[in-house]
Structure formats: C-alpha cells, structure tokens
Symmetry: C2
Subunit: 500 residues, 2 copies
C-alpha cells in the first residue's frame, strides 16, 4: 500500500500544483492583469485545468484508487491516509464524468466572462454580460446532466461546493428559518431606526487599509504566509502552502465595506493557514466545504467583529484613526450602527438579519435558470421583482442588483447556498465555543484572540477537508447543520438592540 499511496500522492501533488497555479492566474486577473491579456489568460487557464483534469482522471489514477480503496479498509477510517483515499475517490468519481474538452471550455468561457462582468458592473450594463452568462449557463446545464440520475438536477452543482449536501436538505433548512427571519425583520421595521449616518463620512483609503490590517493581525493573520490586495470583488485564495491571500476593496465614503470584508476574508485565510503542512499538495489541503469555510469568515466578521466586547477594545483605536469622524460618537451608538437592520441592495454589505434572504433569492433563481424556467435575458427584471418581494425595495440599477456578484462570471453556480449554511454553522460553533471558553468575551474585550484561534485550529482547521460538512459539524457541535442556534442568536442580539 505504501508504494501505491506514494504514487497517488505524487499525482495529487501535480494536480494540486496546477490548480493552485490556476488560482494564482485568477487572483492576478482580478488584482493586476492588464485587460489586453484576457484571451491569453483564458487559454492558459484552459491548459492548466485540462492538464490537471486529464492527470486526475487518468487510468493510472483510477487503478491506484481502486486498489487503495481496498487496502484502506484495514486502516483507521479517521486516519489521514484513509480519508485521503476516500475524499480523492469521491472527487475522482465525479471528475471522470466530465470530459476534458468541457474543462477547457469552462476556463475559456469564464475568463472572458470575468472580464465582461467587471466592465458590465462598472457601467451597470447587463446586456454586456448577458451573452457571457448565457454561455456559462449553457455549460452548467450540460455539466449538471453529466451526473444524472440525481434526486434534483441542482444536486450536481451543490455537491461541488458542499460535499454530500442535497438540494432538498438545503431547502428544508432554508424553509425552517425564512418565516422567522421575515418576522424578525418586520418587528424591527416597526421600531425607530438606528442612526448610522456617521458611517457614511470621508474615510481616507490609507487609514482604512491600515486599521483593517491592525485588526486582522490581532486575529492572528500571518503576513509571512499571506498578503492583501485591492480588487473589485473581495475574495480569499489559497495559492499553496504558505500563501493565503485576501483581497478587499475600499470605499472612501463608507466605513463598513472594507472593514468587515477584511475581517471576513481574513477569517477564510485563518482557516487555511491552520491546515497542517502535511496535507499540502493534495485534496485535504482545503476547507471541508464552502459552507464550513464561510462559517469561519462569518465567525470573525460577525460574531467577533460586530460584537460589543470587540468594539469595547477596538473603538478607542478607531477613534484615534478617525478623530473627526468618531470623536463624538459613543461606542454604544457605533455598535448599534454597525448592526443596523435594514433592507439593502448589496449582499456582502447586508446585515445579519437580512443576509440570508439575499441568498434564498439567489438559490431560487439559480434553480430556475438551471431548469430553464427563467431566461438569462429576463434576469434583471426577475431579480428586481423577487428582490422587492423579499426585501421590500427595488435595486436602482443592475450594478446594485443582478450584476453585483462575481460568482456567475466564474461559472460558480450552486455556490450561493453555502453562504447561508456558513451563517448557521458559525453560530452553532459559537454556542459550543462559549461553553468551552468561558472567558471568551473577556479575552475579546482585551483584543486577545489567540485562545479562540487555538480552539478553531484544534477542533476544525487541522482536519482540512478530511470530513464532509455534516460529519464535521456533527463531530464538533453534536448536531447536524440547522438554523436553531442562528435564530436564537438573532433574537437575542436584535431583541436587545431594538428592544423587541
């Protein structure tokens, strides 16, 4: 078995190298690449993705896996080796269904689509993006069919990002929380609105940037193994061992977007910086799923970064950076302002009470697109109608509506649901952490995050992608993914702020 495992690891190292390099190309495309390189970049990504796919789906890999699956029966099923074989075998089973030509095609389509999306969003011009999105959708529909028969065609997409989760399962969770979230939002709307006008002042870019770095450095972000760059749409990317990069954007007229996105993306990076080096160059060197990943970003962004103890510590520092803007604003008012509940257009800037509604809208639309019930050309109209139905407001333009997210331009359909799952998991974890770290609030109030990070590393990060999301959440919290903890959290937090 040892020899075969070594052979498999060599193949996986090559496949992983190609995929990390492809991620670097993506990072560069968002952060630095000149526009004229769009076509060449698509071709390069196509070549890398094809080579990785061919190698991973080769007969050699298949044979090794078949033999190793048998041999692994003698191992501790939770050992790194047994899990590596299991996770790889599942990925392999999916990958062999996808022809190489489709892999190249996706890279080429999405490289052009990513560029078109940037331009379309900048000019709020959906028609510029439409033909690209049509190609992405067409590709996605063909992709989903490769996995038939499935309970639901969307399962094929979801499994890519949330291994083992089913569409019906996600819909059941969403249905269980939707009415209570809507009820809460209505209760809040009946109350006096919180003033957050002081968040919309002039905040020079450099000061925002430095304050954000101070915060995430305190969290434990390792700058020797990561960096931060400016992009249109923030993301985190793992480019291989020792290289977890975050990207953010800055609006000089609004404090929140950069500040909370920095914490959010750093939360993702902290997860991957905590995966052991031994897992590098293989499929375990990843988060368990995107939902689990999102639980880490939301935990740092919301449960830490929008909490009272956090701001008791950091608010005086923020006041020093922006004395004119915040000199006369009390920490209690600042806390309320950053937690204000109000319908808004942009998902990534949405408050914790309305955020999930943004996701539910996207999940429904993706399912409708996939099933052909909604045509791409009608998306802006349908988006705005449903948005209004959910949140009571209509986006003023497509840049603030259907064009706001980068995902579809990258071919990432089936992805959005993971954001809500991440919200739910983050609070499920938080309830356990609060029990196991009784001094947590005090520590956060002193700017000490090492105990929290150590807990996350020990309970979650060090496992990499060994476990499927439901398995991992069950292992840590004792329950499967569900919305109970999240609803309790919303009720307590916003009940206090809005005196419900």
């Amino acid at each position: 078995m040892d020899k075969e495992l070594t052979q498999l690891k060599e193949i996986l190292a090559e496949v992983d190298d190609l995929s990390r390099v492809s991620a670097l190309l993506g990072w560069d495309q968002q952060a630095y690449m000149p526009k004229g390189a769009t076509e060449a970049r698509g071709q390069q990504m196509g070549t890398l993705d094809r080579l990785g796919h061919e190698r991973f789906t080769s007969k050699e890999t298949g044979k090794l896996l078949a033999s190793l699956q048998k041999a692994a029966k003698g191992l501790d099923p939770d050992s790194d080796e047994a899990r590596l074989v299991k996770v790889t075998a599942k990925r392999h089973e999916r990958a062999v269904k996808v022809p190489s030509a489709m892999v190249v095609e996706k890279a080429e389509i999405t490289s052009l689509a990513a560029q078109a999306w940037q331009e379309a969003r900048a000019g709020s011009n959906f028609s510029h993006f439409q033909p690209h999105l049509e190609k992405v959708l067409d590709w996605t529909q063909r992709f989903a069919k490769l996995f038939a028969p499935v309970d639901h065609p969307y399962d094929a997409l979801l499994d890519e990002y949330e291994p083992g989760m089913k569409t019906r399962e996600v819909q059941a969770i969403f249905n269980s929380i939707r009415p209570k979230q809507v009820e809460l939002i209505k209760a809040v709307a009946a109350k006096l609105q919180v003033d957050e006008s002081f968040l919309h002042q002039n905040f020079p870019e450099k000061s925002q940037w430095e304050f954000g770095r101070e915060v995430v450095s305190a969290f434990g972000f390792d700058w020797e193994r990561g960096r931060e760059d400016k992009v249109t749409h923030p993301f985190m990317t793992n480019l291989g061992y020792g290289d977890q990069r975050i990207t953010t954007r800055v609006y000089e007229d609004y404090l929140n977007p950069h500040l909370f996105a920095t914490m959010h993306e750093a939360g993702h990076a902290l997860y991957e910086q905590g995966i052991p080096k031994e897992m590098a160059r293989g499929p375990l060197y990843n988060g368990a799923s995107l939902g689990v990943h999102e639980s880490q970003s939301r935990l740092w962004e919301n449960l830490v970064g929008r909490s009272k103890p956090f701001w008791n510590h950091f608010y005086p520092k923020l006041q020093k950076v922006f004395p004119e803007q915040f000199g006369k604003v009390k920490v209690e008012d600042f806390y309320k302002a950053i937690n204000r509940v109000a319908p808004s257009y942009i998902r990534v800037e949405a408050d914790e009470a309305t955020y999930n509604l943004h996701i539910m809208l996207r999940l429904e639309l993706e399912i409708d697109l996939l099933e052909g019930k909604v045509a791409v050309k009608d998306l802006p109209k349908v988006w705005n109608e449903r948005f209004n139905a959910y949140l009571g407001v209509t986006p003023p333009d497509d840049a603030k509506g259907v064009l706001q997210d980068v995902h579809w331009s990258y071919g990432l359909m089936g992805y959005f649901a993971t954001y809500t799952l991440g919200n739910l998991i983050s609070v499920q974890l938080w309830e356990v952490i609060q029990r196991e770290l009784p001094d947590l609030e005090k520590q956060i109030g002193k700017g000490e995050f090492a105990p929290l990070l150590a807990w996350l590393r020990e309970k979650m990060h060090r496992h990499g992608a060994k476990y499927e999301p439901q398995e991992l959440v069950q292992k840590i919290t004792g329950s499967k993914i569900n919305g109970d903890a999240y609803l309790r959290y919303l009720k307590t937090k916003f009940g206090e702020i809005y005196k419900l």
Copy 2:
C-alpha cells in the same frame, strides 16, 4: 503538412502556456509573493517546467518535427511556417538532451535561491547565498556537459540566450573593443569631472513613478497590454499575448535608477508588444535573442533617453515635476550629468563608457566558475580584485559587488554577455535608423516617437524569433554584430562632453 503543422502548433501552444504561466509565477515571486510560499512556489514551478519539458521533448513532438522538417523544404525558407519548424527543431534538439528530473531540479533550486538572494542582498551577506549558488553552479556544470562535445563548454550556456553565437566569437568582439574603451575611460579621467550632485537629492517616489510613466507612454508603451510593478531588481516579462509587464525600483535619493530602468524595461516591452498576434503561443513569440532584446532596451534608454534632443523636450517637464531640485540646473548641465563617465559599482547604473567592463568581468568569472577555476566561496574576493583591476575601485560590500545581480539566483548563467552584445547592436541599428529617418532628431526633440517605433516594428519586432541574432543584424544593418559603430558613438558623444 497542414494537419501536422496544426498538431505541432497545438503542442507548442500548451508548452508556451506552461512557460508563460511559469513566468507569471516568477513575476509574482519578485513582486508580491509572501516569503512563506517559497517552497511551494518552487514545487509549482518545477511541475510546470517539467510538464512543458515532457510535452516538448515527447516522441510525438519529435515525430512531427522530423516529418515537418522534410515537408518544409518545399516552403519559402523565410516564411513563418518554415521558420517555426526550423526554430522549434533546434530548440527540440537541445531540449531532448536535458532529462526531466533536471528541469524540476532547476526550478526547485532556483526558487529557493531567488529567495535567499533577496535576503542575502538585503543584508549584504554572501554566505547566506553561497550554498544556493553552489547548487546552481553544480546544476549548470552538469547541464553544460549534456551538450558535449562543443568547441567551448560555455557555448552550451550561451546558445540558450544567443542562438548560434559561440564563446570564441563573443570573446573576439569583446577583445576588439576592450582596449579602446579602457583608453577612452582614461582620457575622460584626465579631464575635469562633470558635476552630477543634483541627481542625488530627494525625489519623492510618486513623482518619479509618474514621470517615468509619462516618458514610456510617449515612447508608445501600451498600458492595456502591460503594467509596471515594484521589485528589488527590475526586469520585463512577457506573460502571453497582451501582457508585457515591466518592473522597476525607486530610490528617493537618486533620480537615475528608476528613470532609466523604466525606459530600459519599456524598451524590452515595446519589442514584445510589437510581435504579431499570429506568433503567440509558440517559440516565435519572443525576441530573436537576449542580445537583440537588449539592443531595444538600450536603444530607448541610451540612444533616446540620454540624448540631447530627448531632454530638450522632456527637461522642462522634469523641472515642473521637481522645481526645487532642477529649477536652477540648465539642460546642458543635466545632459552632461546623466552622461557622466565614472567607475561605479552597480552594473545597471553604469554609464555607457564603463558598462561593458562590468560585463566582461562577469563573462570571465562565469567561464572560470564553469571550468572550476574559481570556487563559489571565493567569489566575493575574486570579484572585488578583478573589479578593481578593471575599474580602479573596490566595492564597499557584497550587496554593491557580487550580490548585485539577480541572474545567478535564477540559474541564468551564460546570460551576461548578451548585455554587451545589446549595446553594440543598438548603435549598429541606430546608424541605419539615422540614415533612414533623417528627421529623427527633430522628432525626438518634439517628443514624437511614433516614427522610430514604427521603424523598429517594421524592421525588427514583427519578425519575432524567426531569425538568429547574427542573421537578423546582418539583414537589417548589412553587417554582423561588431563594436565599430559603438566605438564611433562613444568617441563622438564623450569627445564632445569631455572635450577630448
């Protein structure tokens, strides 16, 4: 033949994609990569380089080439197709001699060496770099042996960068110019030295950066197909069609390094931006050689950028950017200052009269290292001794001596001679350009560079790597590479400045 040519082009496209992506990894490593990623980056580059090498040296490629070489006999020998086959066949013949394992080994050695060099240079600590350089040299010695028998072991290295050139040929050219350059430097040294103290004032980074961009924009650098970033050691890199990036550095206490490096690197980029798209994704999508490439960078840096007409146009603009620094300095004195001849430590900052001596030193040392006549550990001592013998001064530390260049850390041995060849070619070209564009000086004096660029595009850039350097220089100038024009140029220019 058409079918086979298409098949060959597909292979070459894949090989080219892998090599451009590897170049992006190198660019990122110099410009942005966090230190913690060094090992992973080496592994990734190793994977890419190995895959490219395996594909290029595969039996399939060999068979196609053998068949196409026969078929190409019926073609116009100067057609793109015939030249593609010829150039590819020569590269292939060299590549098949190199085992894959050595390709991976080089990527891994040099990735670590590049990091160590950065650190060693920053701390002027040669011993930190020494073990890495020993590995690079050992690799290079093994590499050179793969090509035996050759007239001179160094030929194997030189041919990588200057196809077709022999060590003896280069030595003959160098020997013919050395005594006359030394004589000129002595004559200059006997004269009153030019004042250039005003070049050493405080020049804020942002202003330097913007002025440099203004200049190279006027040259014709296309920012939609390129960009500029900050690094330790300036370079230009071609990342595929539409993506030619330059990198520079800024010293706030000295005007020259950033200004002339920007013109220099832009000169390289203008060459590659002028190669037709039809040549992209293959070996013709390159300069003819590094020497020919350097002729372009030196042409823009020196023959344009250190000329009187250029500064008649740009000096008033520079004075506007730095009114305190240059308000009282006359253009004549500025012109003399940027052309001051004096021994200096740093090659890239050397004047036109001493530059070639820096190169001759390096060529000799590389040959001695390759032949085992000098050991790596003795390099700092030998460097300083010979430097003093050539230039009459001794570097104060290794950062300003043996550690100044990035090349060896990248495994680029056999490369330095191309800089001097570039100097010579640039003036050979310039004599022809002056004849064919009689209004050239007037145009430059008005900041009009389009006619010059158009000439270069037509006579040189559009050919990509179709011709070997001697062939191309002969084709354009009517002579092989030689030092006559360069010596004439030095004598005229510095004879006037120093009244010799």
